[in-house]
Symmetry: C2
Amino acid sequence: MLRFTNYFDTKTLDPFILEKGFEAVRYEATSGSVGYYHLPKNSQPLVDELQDLYHQIERRFNTIAIIGIGGSSLGIKAIDRLLRPSTPNAKKMVYLENSDPVAVMQGIKQIDKFRTLFIVISKSGGTVETMSIFKYIIHTFELTLDCSDQILVVSDEDSILSHFADEHHLRRFVIPANVGGRFSILSAVGIVPLTLAGFDTKSILRGGEGFLERFWRREEEHTIQKAAYYVSHREHYPMNVLFGYSDSFEEFGKWVVQLWGESLGKRNRRGERVGLTPISLIGSVDQHSFLQLIVEGPLDKTVTFMHIEHSEEHLMIPELSLSHLEKTDFVNGHCFNELINAQCEATLQSVLKSGVVSVDEIVWKAIDEVSVGELILYFEVLTSLSGALLEINTYNQPGVEIGKEILAAYFHKG
Amino acid sequence: MLRFTNYFDTKTLDPFILEKGFEAVRYEATSGSVGYYHLPKNSQPLVDELQDLYHQIERRFNTIAIIGIGGSSLGIKAIDRLLRPSTPNAKKMVYLENSDPVAVMQGIKQIDKFRTLFIVISKSGGTVETMSIFKYIIHTFELTLDCSDQILVVSDEDSILSHFADEHHLRRFVIPANVGGRFSILSAVGIVPLTLAGFDTKSILRGGEGFLERFWRREEEHTIQKAAYYVSHREHYPMNVLFGYSDSFEEFGKWVVQLWGESLGKRNRRGERVGLTPISLIGSVDQHSFLQLIVEGPLDKTVTFMHIEHSEEHLMIPELSLSHLEKTDFVNGHCFNELINAQCEATLQSVLKSGVVSVDEIVWKAIDEVSVGELILYFEVLTSLSGALLEINTYNQPGVEIGKEILAAYFHKG
């Protein structure tokens, strides 16, 4: 379970704006125009379906290689990182995403051809990084395509990748047409690899479902307040910092950056450029890096502190006093988890004291599947609410097309 | 060698401002008030001195554990990540930095007590994460402190950590008093662990020295232009994006974020909050994430594109045409490195076309030690120039002290 606290002033928020946000997302959900709201429920049968396949592959494969980029890898990595310490028997995951040759080679070196299941994920099927790496894999490992049970495909129903899969009789899974890539983590995109790796995806889905049910019942109003605050104060606070206190939040932060940046950086219906810039930090490390800028720099950021009350690991700082170093003995006999939680709370207090008022906090009781599902839906709904209030199309990404055209022209010319 | 190109308009920059920046950093260097300018030359004897120790430990240790955080780890990690593919025999490095118990445990698991050299790095000696982890290491591995040749210390001459080291007759190395933590990578902080791990630190230092010599000879004027542009346009562009096209830039990006954010986020002499917000992205991955916001969101960012012309890895995309997927065949027969370079160039062009004019580019011929040294000095000098033009103290971090006091009070209370 997560506990959300908004420290910013919610009293001055316009009730009309709050209702407008809620109505807009309710319409997205009930009209069926936006599909991700239904994934927590609709993906549950997929988990059941995957049980047979899970048992078939359980002994044969010890590694799952994900060939996908952006919305087809960030969410999987985020959940993998958060839940792996509590799921030690999960299969190894290798992520092949960037067209960086050093990264491709490092990924390839981790793959044993006979013990790896390859999952190719692309919504459109035409992603140049994904297709190039897929070809490299086929070539390097001399994979047979026809009827292969070592290759799975996740894509849109009618995509070119799906046609390819059907031609070679590969098993494939469908991303609903009304679910955008960066909102697709709880569709087959995330559920297929994570379930087959051995993660408890059913509980993640239940966590998401629970958050949504409470949201529709108006029991998660802090979410609407935060979206309304961010949008109405966007001239003052064009940047939104997520400060997660655990290395395990690193990939989750990247998932939020994509979700927030790509959804909200848009021209609105009047053609004006709008958007909010996401920044992901890790505590306590970034207390030694970015914090000074938050505390004494321009007051142009909101800050969300996120930490975990109870850790999987109970490491204690020994009762050891080193000569001349007694100054830090005040944490002796405490757990590292107490230290990092206290650091988060102390930093939150110091940021408030410094005059930064645009602060909120998300507390995890512990990292578990249900909380991961809640957090995913929380950030997705927060994004949708913000997009609705910005009066933009939250779900497209027209700005990246021109670069793809220039790229293709570059090679056709060459 | 690096090639720098500023695409933004340099003609309207005030020549007086450019001279003011240059004079300010020249004074910092010649007066001796700021020490990092002298590290490329002054650290070269340290590399020679370390050769004996290198040979002593060469067979005994296969792992170097760095116990340090912030300026005492970010730069080491950055260089390690960039140069490891071309230095395959370098010793394994384990970084123990965050007070996150999961991260501490993951680090500990990688350590074989008998084959690991521990290097404790803290400028002040009083960093609570570093000291707590050090104690945990001593306790867990039952390390003997007195006269240990398995523990090295890097700290200020007169720090509490140095007193501790002397009391136990541990070998220690000194960070010059006039070198701040985030500018210390080419002092003993980085040179000791990287040299002992087997990296060619002499060439890194020569790269830095070469950049500085050219800068003082006014042959790297693009640096001053960029600082002047960033500072004079800071109301329009409060954010500075560094878009590095290779996974290998991930840690370097974090080093830049610390350097830039912590140096420039300050109250100026009139007490006003000033600062520029650094954002580090990785291409091509973040073309699928943050790029949309740059292209269509508010024009509030500068963007620096950085890529590598020639890669260590010559991986070719096979001449393989998959049915229905012919659309991406235009890259067949090309190297992945050509693809990622073309993606960078295409994205740079598309960003310019979209109306973002605050763009520049850094091109590496290849990743090598000399270029790494150049880039480090480039960003350090760029930071110093910007700080001078912002009329702030670039080298302190007063904003983070209050959090430390609240933290200590929290434990003394509890």
